[in-house]
Symmetry: C2
Subunit: 233 residues, 2 copies
């Protein structure tokens, strides 16, 4: 699961992360958690496309993104892939109810994560009602995203899917004129249930319609965000 090279035992002071107040980063002077979680987070680095954990691996740890982007995905026997979610800074992933990870997690680009021991979370949650509420609400938010995603996959056309993706991804950098994509067309396609060709064609289509502008393949200017939102039905 963890290539030795990926593990860093150092615990630098990390910038405050906004998303998950119920999980603190390891702090400079020790490994105690504000929430009372008596577990040490381990900072780890992964290179692009490196696997963080595989589908079916023992779920002994869960993770929080410090920098970069992580994707979680499932595969069919013949290799077809469905990306469930892209995780950005502050996002927690790999929390499971079962003993095994239901997904595989990979680095979309070079990234840094903190790994936490699952046992620590579970024992802490059993006595800390507040933490336990946070855990539940994390699960429910993840669920809600998965359900919206199912609506997209089951009932939206290619152009609606791509528009939804752009709107969702743009929300991560509010106010920005240009959206920077960390992932390849293949990632986008596997997230939206399309092929790379259809993604590419659809982006070109949106550009011809003067709704977006492809400064480069990964740099997209949203010229008409309202039009994109309309496509989200």
């Amino acid at each position: 699961m963890f290539p030795p090279s990926a593990i860093s035992t150092s615990q630098p002071a990390l910038a405050m992360l906004a998303r998950t107040p119920w999980i603190r980063e390891p702090v400079e002077n020790g490994s105690e958690w504000e929430s009372g979680l008596a577990s040490t987070g381990t900072v780890m680095h992964f290179a692009q496309d490196q696997e963080i954990y595989g589908e079916g691996d023992d779920a002994l740890t869960f993770f929080k993104v410090v920098s970069g982007v992580v994707r979680t995905c499932k595969f069919l026997a013949d290799g077809r892939r469905q990306i469930d979610s892209f995780h950005i800074v502050g996002d927690v992933f790999g929390v499971e109810a079962d003993a095994e990870h239901a997904f595989c997690a990979q680095a979309v680009c070079d990234c840094t994560v903190v790994a936490y021991r699952r046992r620590g979370l579970e024992t802490a949650a059993s006595t800390d009602a507040d933490l336990s509420r946070h855990l539940f609400s994390h699960a429910m938010r993840t669920l809600s995203r998965a359900q919206d995603h199912a609506l997209l996959l089951g009932r939206k056309s290619a152009i609606e899917k791509v528009a939804a993706f752009l709107v969702e991804w743009a929300a991560h950098s509010p106010g920005a004129v240009i959206v920077s994509l960390a992932m390849t067309r293949q990632d986008i396609a596997d997230y939206l249930g399309l092929t790379i060709e259809t993604v590419s064609r659809t982006l070109s289509h949106l550009e011809r319609a003067a709704i977006i502008e492809l400064s480069s393949a990964r740099q997209i200017r949203l010229k008409d965000p309202a039009a994109l939102r309309v496509l989200n039905s």
Copy 2:
């Protein structure tokens, strides 16, 4: 939300339901819960296609199916529908993290449910670690189903989708030779991200391949369950 006719104040002794030990049915002699939840479950009946709650309704209650089948679904602005899940006896639905229901819930056929006050669950969970663990695990199981569903919607062909549906639904009556469908072709189509015609054609196709036999439209004999499972990749 609740058509007055649907509410029954009587609380008959209900058969023991296996699925959710963390939520008991109201018992004959009172309304106390074994789990310590000090809230009364209200037995309610709904006719086929009747709405139990709508998308965006205040999530003041959640439900457990006593008999019949319930579907939870979302809609796009133009009416396209995606069914998230079919709920059968013992299933809990309508548990939310937000103030509002994320879905709409409707009766697939005439059915009976018990409605529970959400507040009761929440206050009980705040002091009962075990209940709170059950709540979390319920959320995670629902999440896991939603994620498998997303893989199906995004990456499977029509025949694989239908096969998956039959296998999943057949699992509800293990050992049975004939699978009884409670839902219409439209329900199946909206669950699988297909049209009714494609569902119908695919079932005919499976029948011609001697994998199933349509005793009637809603009664399906699985002649070759192994073949169905193979189609699930």
